[in-house]
């Protein structure tokens, strides 16, 4: 993965920040990496509690939440009350999560996805097959 010394952003402003809520470590790390390549700043959360902690206490402005379905419904109930304008994207499968990440990249800081999300799905599934780090 290309390593850049400066964070890319549009027009000199701060990059858009994504809160990624995903229990599965392989999905989370791969999706986070994909979003960072296309210029997003990504905060990773393993659980609804972590995500709420970030939303409550981080001084950074979170632009959008991308979440697995299991945690996402609980987080959506919280955001409806506490952050009603925050966009929450729920994705129930690896494929849908990858497509959502690709769509975010298309409308993100660099305006394009780094590579085909199907390749991202393959990478995640290879990792899942090679390790046993799922959180369930």
């Amino acid at each position: 993965m290309k390593n850049t010394a400066t964070r890319p952003h549009i027009g000199g402003g701060r990059p858009t920040t994504v809160l990624l809520l995903q229990q599965d470590v392989f999905i989370r790390t791969s999706i986070a990496e994909y979003l960072r390549i296309c210029g997003y700043r990504v905060f990773e959360a393993l659980s609804t509690d972590e995500a709420i902690g970030i939303l409550e206490k981080s001084p950074e402005t979170i632009g959008v939440v991308l979440s697995d379905a299991e945690n996402g419904f609980a987080l959506s109930r919280w955001t409806k009350t506490n952050r009603p304008k925050l966009r929450v994207i729920l994705a129930a499968s690896v494929e849908r999560t990858a497509r959502a990440a690709a769509n975010l990249c298309d409308s993100g800081p660099q305006g394009k996805r780094p590579y085909d999300p199907q390749l991202l799905v393959q990478r995640i599934k290879v990792s899942q097959a090679g390790g046993d780090g799922s959180s369930s």
């Binding site: 010394a5 790390t29 700043r41 390790g131 780090g133």
Partner: protein, 123 residues
């Protein structure tokens, strides 16, 4: 702008293992802004899962006391056994008795942490 030689040096991949989410994201954010590629784990079990599938991790920065079964001590022992080339730094409020390359006591300044990382990675 960071000089090209520093960019090359900071191509090292660091795995940060920390169960306090606000500490984890601030450390990772800081190290990424400094030019490192950083992966995150919320506990020792996640860290071991990442280590199984990533061959490019040069350094693990880990807390000692963490929830979810595999704490920092168990993680360090597994790294020493299965991934002896990976360097380890502990960052904890608790005393560490395991052999590691460096220890940073919490609370720490991020600038201090970066200096320790650079020293361990050999700059």
């Amino acid at each position: 702008m960071v000089p090209a030689e520093v960019v090359a040096f900071r191509a090292a991949v660091i795995l940060v293992v920390e169960d306090e989410v606000l500490i984890r994201i601030s450390v990772c954010d800081y190290l990424r802004a400094a030019g490192f590629t950083v992966m995150e784990a919320g506990n020792g079990r996640e860290a071991l899962a990442i280590l199984k599938v990533r061959a490019d991790i040069a350094l693990v920065l880990t807390d000692i006391h963490m929830s979810d079964g595999t704490d920092g001590v168990a993680l360090i022992r597994e790294i020493r056994k299965s991934y002896p080339a990976i360097k380890v730094i502990t960052a904890s409020a608790y005393r560490n008795t395991e052999p590691v390359e460096a220890t940073v006591a919490k609370p720490y300044r991020l600038e201090r942490l970066l200096a320790v990382i650079e020293s361990v990675l050999g700059r």
